[in-house]
Amino acid sequence: MNEKKYAALEKEISPKTPYLRNCIKAFLVGGTICLIGQFVALFYMTYFDFTERTSSNPTVSTMIFFAMLLTGFGFYKKIGQIGGAGGSVPITGFSNAVVSAAIEHKSEGYVLGVGGNMFKLAGSVILFGVFSAFVVALIKTILVKLGVVSW
């Protein structure tokens, strides 16, 4: 049996990825996380001196804190298994990536273990997040200078 034939056989026998079901679950899980985030933002706007724009910082921190607790108590991996990208794309997924790596590498000490590894998974999110923000900002600056859009 050659590689091509085997790849075809493997595709035929391996269970299919239920893309539609996964998408719906990701939508529901991700949407629920964002809904909770919206409530947190409303809480900051109602009870503290925040506007819609300035409430995002404390909201993000709060959501990160929630996800950190859920990761530590072993619940976030279950959310991730059900929600897929719905669990990993929101800021809570970023928190989970950092905290899970930190917990994992605690056995190697705080400097080389936790410090050296906690951004193992999240590092690429930071790198490419910052880079894409830079590119978007550059495009917008050019468009503003040309008078196409305004800040």
Binding site: E10, I13, P15, G87, S107
Partner: protein
């Protein structure tokens, strides 16, 4: 022509006893009543996953030795292996028990590669008691090959659950009334271009089918000669593929075909396609199969342990997953 990679043992060394230890999640296994020792905690009370892994191995060795009324000083060789980098759990276990030691690696096929080597040492008269076996610890293996344990990634249905379990066997010169090792086939590496580390069963299935074919042809036996032909850890997906490949080769796939990984956690969907890990085949072979042979239910079995010879580095660099399967034949007279 000398058949390559085939072994026939002249003195038929026996498996005089076995020792099986397993972690807390493995209590869900249908084979749990046959395990010698279970731990209530993943790290077996040690400080780290890796130390817990070593402790499980030590306990398994001591249990196997105690069943033949022996102490580590009586054993001539210790041949064990695991999946952690440089096999440190096996090394620490060997340091504690103090038996002359050779660490062996065939990934999840280590259960059979160690058993074959122990049989060779016994056959050649160098060994009175040789401990052979393999183990794995879920957390220690997952962190090395995949993601941190608490990371919320979505695992597909084809993925397998690395077991926390160790199985070892005490191999001695032939003893009446004990399962004995008759012949074996050393596997060749088979690589059909699979690259998905979350579908290892599919990568390993061709290696298992290849070794089965070579064993049958080389030793001149038929499927019907065996009461059971058990593969190591192909899991639900890989097992289906392996049976398809075998029947494509003209082999009559019967009820006698079993897979340790497929059966290890029963039908529980939280373990996806079933179990994997070096401890999967070793524990099922040295509990379920061994017990059935002692009871006389199985008179002749063929055990084909399968291993995926990948590293996290190799698959990240885009390499395929080379796989191996070693076979050993046991009889009970």
């Amino acid at each position: 022509m000398v058949a390559r990679g085939l072994l026939t043992f002249k003195t038929n060394p026996s498996i005089a006893s076995t020792g099986v230890t397993a972690g807390p999640l493995e209590k869900k296994s249908p084979f749990v009543s046959l395990f010698d020792k279970m731990y209530d905690e993943e790290q077996s009370g040690a400080g780290t996953n890796e130390q817990g892994h070593a402790k499980m191995m030590e306990d398994a060795c001591m249990i196997a030795l105690s069943k033949v009324d022996s102490v580590p000083e009586d054993a001539d060789f210790l041949l064990i292996g695991d999946l952690v980098n440089q096999m440190t759990p096996s090394n620490f276990c060997a340091a504690t028990v103090g038996i002359p030691y050779m660490g062996m690696f065939s990934a999840c096929a280590t259960s059979v590669s160690t058993l074959i080597t122990a049989a060779l040492l016994t056959d050649s008269g160098f060994s009175k008691i040789a401990i052979a076996g393999a183990g794995s610890q879920h957390n220690a293996v997952e962190r090395q090959f995949r993601y941190p344990i608490e990371y919320g990634s979505q695992k597909p249905e084809t993925s397998q659950w690395t077991v926390t379990a160790v199985g070892v066997a005490a191999v001695t010169p032939n003893k009446k009334g004990m399962p004995s090792i008759v012949c074996a086939t050393i596997g060749s590496v088979v690589d059909l271009g699979m690259t998905d580390p979350l579908n290892m069963g599919a990568a390993m299935a061709p290696a298992a089918a290849d070794t089965l074919q070579r064993h049958l042809d080389g030793h001149g036996t038929k499927i019907t000669d065996y009461d059971c032909i058990m593969t190591g850890d192909l899991g639900k997906t890989g097992f289906e593929l392996y049976k398809t490949l075998a029947s494509n080769n003209g082999i009559d796939v019967t009820e006698n075909f079993r897979d340790a990984g497929e059966e290890f956690y029963g039908e529980d969907p939280s373990f996806f396609a079933g179990a994997s890990g070096a401890g999967c085949s070793s524990t099922v072979y040295f509990s379920e199969i061994y017990a059935k042979m002692l009871q006389g239910e199985y008179k002749r079995v063929l055990l084909i342990a399968t291993g995926a010879l990948l590293s996290p580095l190799s698959f990240q660099q885009g390499d395929t997953i080379p796989c191996i399967a070693h076979a050993v034949e046991l009889t009970m007279k």
